[in-house]
């Protein structure tokens, strides 16, 4: 018996083309998410915790996001090296807060890095289904950074200000970890929107 010729359903073909069109339209989403993830990582250069003295310019002592992450990854909270920022000082007065802040900074950095890699893969048109994974990673980074931010500000209630600053009312504890947190949130939203579009398009084929 002769084999039937291979005929493709025209309607199926149309759906497939529409799906491919949607996948292509997600590339700008991926590019935007990659840029946002890069910005979030760059914002790790800002102080995740610092003592601000309104009588002098800048901050008295600080620990940047990358320094905090390094402390967590290396387990070194008492090192005076420049790469570790002033973590040794904060750790002396609020060790528990420093451990949590640093652990969250490290977790956020790793999540954002992984999200960035995924977004770059997505931006070159590969594996469009990974938008949801990138969204999850950025959501995790956002949550970790919020915890970091909260624990930084909570150091106000430790002996840090009464002892390090002699109770000087001009001194306060500040944190800019909220900035990369907001960037991670924005990146998550972009990836989430893309993931929804992809899911809807996949349902229709």
């Amino acid at each position: 018996m002769a084999a039937k010729p291979n005929t493709v359903n025209p309607a199926q073909k149309k759906k497939q083309r529409a799906f491919e069109g949607v996948c292509k339209s997600l590339i700008p989403f991926a590019r935007a998410a990659a840029v946002i993830a890069s910005v979030a990582l760059l914002l790790f250069l800002t102080p995740f915790v610092g003592i601000y003295n309104k009588d002098i310019p800048g901050m008295e002592i600080t620990v940047g996001g990358f320094s905090a992450a390094l402390c967590a990854l290396s387990g070194q909270f008492t090192n005076v090296g420049a790469a570790f920022g002033n973590m040794d000082i904060f750790n002396h007065f609020a060790p528990a807060h420093c451990k949590v802040l640093a652990a969250c900074a490290a977790a956020a950095a790793l999540c954002l890095l992984a999200a960035l890699v995924l977004c770059v893969v997505l931006a070159i048109g590969k594996a469009p289904g990974l938008h949801s994974a990138a969204a999850v990673l950025q959501a995790l980074a956002f949550a970790a950074l919020i915890v970091s931010f909260a624990f930084a500000l909570a150091m106000s209630g430790t002996r840090l200000l009464p002892e390090y600053c002699s109770g000087n009312p001009a001194c306060s504890v500040r944190s800019l970890a909220i900035l990369p947190a907001l960037a991670a949130c924005a990146g998550c939203a972009v990836n989430f929107a893309a993931a929804l579009r992809y899911r809807k398009a996949k349902k229709n084929i």
Binding site: I51, N53, D55, I56, E60, I61, T78, V80, D88, I89, H92, E163, Y164, C165, S166, N168, A170, C171
Partner: protein, 171 residues
């Protein structure tokens, strides 16, 4: 063979990092390392430490006299909070150290020494002294407690020209 060589190299690297480290306090790192030492003296036990400082005499409320090797800094480890203090060590030496000079003046014209030695222990010694009134005189009514680490001096030499040294150290 390559794997064994790599393991051997790693082991050498690890062993090299296991020994105690020596510290030389310079003008660029004096405050950072000194502060770190005050917070975490256990990290510096067994290490040889070199530093330049001036001698300063402290007398406690019982009349006991101590010679310290210090520099001036802002209070509470560097916060710019309008209060100054001295940062350094209680000196232990089997011999005579030069007497402090111009102790009541707020300038660098002091008895400067280059010291080499090590921390005598990780516990700080509390010294209760009479507080000072704003005019610089002692307040017989009030006392304050200063805590110092002890430094065992192995070797010292006088510094004749201290013009390159910071009397007041900051971050």
């Amino acid at each position: 063979m390559k794997k064994r060589l790599l393991c051997l190299l790693l082991l050498c690297g690890l062993l090299a990092g296991c020994g105690t480290r020596d510290y030389v306090l310079t003008e660029s790192n004096f405050f950072l390392i000194m502060t770190n030492m005050q917070f975490y003296p256990q990290q510096y036990l067994g290490s040889e430490i070199e530093l330049d400082c001036f001698t300063y005499a402290l007398e406690d409320v019982h009349g006991q006299r101590y010679i310290c090797g210090v520099r001036k800094s802002s209070a509470e480890y560097g916060c710019t909070c309008g209060k100054d203090t001295i940062i350094g060590f209680l000196l232990q030496y089997d011999g005579q150290l030069p007497e402090p000079r111009n102790q009541s003046t707020d300038d660098g014209d002091k008895t400067w020494l280059h010291l080499r030695g090590r921390l005598a222990g990780e516990q700080k010694q509390d010294i209760e002294i009479h507080a000072y009134l704003p005019d610089g005189s002692q307040d017989p009514e009030n006392t304050e407690t200063i805590s110092f680490l002890s430094f065992q001096v192995d070797d010292w030499s006088p510094i004749e020209d201290a013009s390159g040294l910071q009397y007041y150290v900051t971050k």
